[in-house]
């Protein structure tokens, strides 16, 4: 199946730990994103990469570090997890970065992170 897949689906961890979320897309897209959805369902972009290069880096704590080993993968590493990091994290991809109409976002199913 062509898709955006992210793992794990659920992640429960304690404060202070370091964790990673992996994302892969086999759609041949050039651009990948991480979005954070808070408890009120608000979706906010965190990062975007185009062909392994960082394009968008919104106001996100330095504890969050994206890594793109190739254009099909965009992983998110989080250091020193805090309670406020609890959210659903969505990976997404689009064909390119120049044309929203012809390059809408394709989303993964999300990773629900719970920090205790």
């Amino acid at each position: 199946d062509t898709a955006v897949s992210q793992t794990p689906k659920y992640l429960v961890t304690q404060m202070g730990n370091d964790k990673s979320i992996k994302c892969e897309q086999n759609l041949g897209h050039d651009t990948m994103y991480w979005y954070k959805q808070d408890s009120k369902k608000f979706l906010k972009i965190m990062f975007s990469y185009n062909n392994k290069e960082l394009i968008i880096n919104e106001t996100v704590p330095n504890r969050f570090s994206p890594k793109s080993p190739d254009k099909a993968h965009l992983n998110l590493h989080i250091n020193s997890l805090e309670l406020g990091d609890s959210a659903v994290y969505f990976c997404a991809s689009s064909q390119d970065q120049q044309d929203p109409y012809n390059s809408p976002l394709h989303f993964g199913n999300g990773t629900r992170l719970t920090v205790t």
Binding site: V4, T31, K40, K41, F42, L43, K44, I45, S48, I55, I56, F90, A92, S94, D96, Q97, Q98, D99, P100, Y101, S103, P104, L105, H106, F107, G108, N109, G110
Partner: protein, 113 residues
């Protein structure tokens, strides 16, 4: 600055009834507009999109949306709702720079038998 407002946090409709979900946007240029649906535990799926041309656009699952520039609105409609339409609906505006997308806060739809 670009923004999207979905005034209705939650809507309940009876199965078979018509549906309209409201979306207002703020954007300095001609907007790229989208509606996405999120089923429980799933990612967001694109329902339809608009940039130019016919202001009434058709999407998947029997949904349509109408762009009204004078009202800065892009409301989503469906003539007859099915129980499977219960989900969270997000309106979004896309901008050229960096292919960014800005989402509204979503409208949760409940369908009652």
């Amino acid at each position: 600055a670009q923004s999207v407002t979905q005034p209705d946090i939650h809507i309940t409709v009876s199965e078979g009834a018509s549906l309209e979900l409201r979306c207002n946007y703020s954007y300095g240029a001609t907007p790229y507009l989208f509606w996405y649906v999120q089923s429980p535990g799933q990612g967001l799926q694109l329902l339809l999109k608009y940039f130019s041309g016919d202001t009434l656009v058709q999407g998947i699952k029997g949904f349509e949306a109408e762009f009204k520039r004078s009202q800065s609105s892009f409301n989503l409609r469906k003539p007859s709702v099915h129980w499977s339409d219960a989900a969270e609906y997000f309106c979004a505006v896309g901008v050229l720079a960096g292919n960014q997308f800005y989402f509204g806060t979503g409208t949760s739809l409940t369908v009652i038998p």
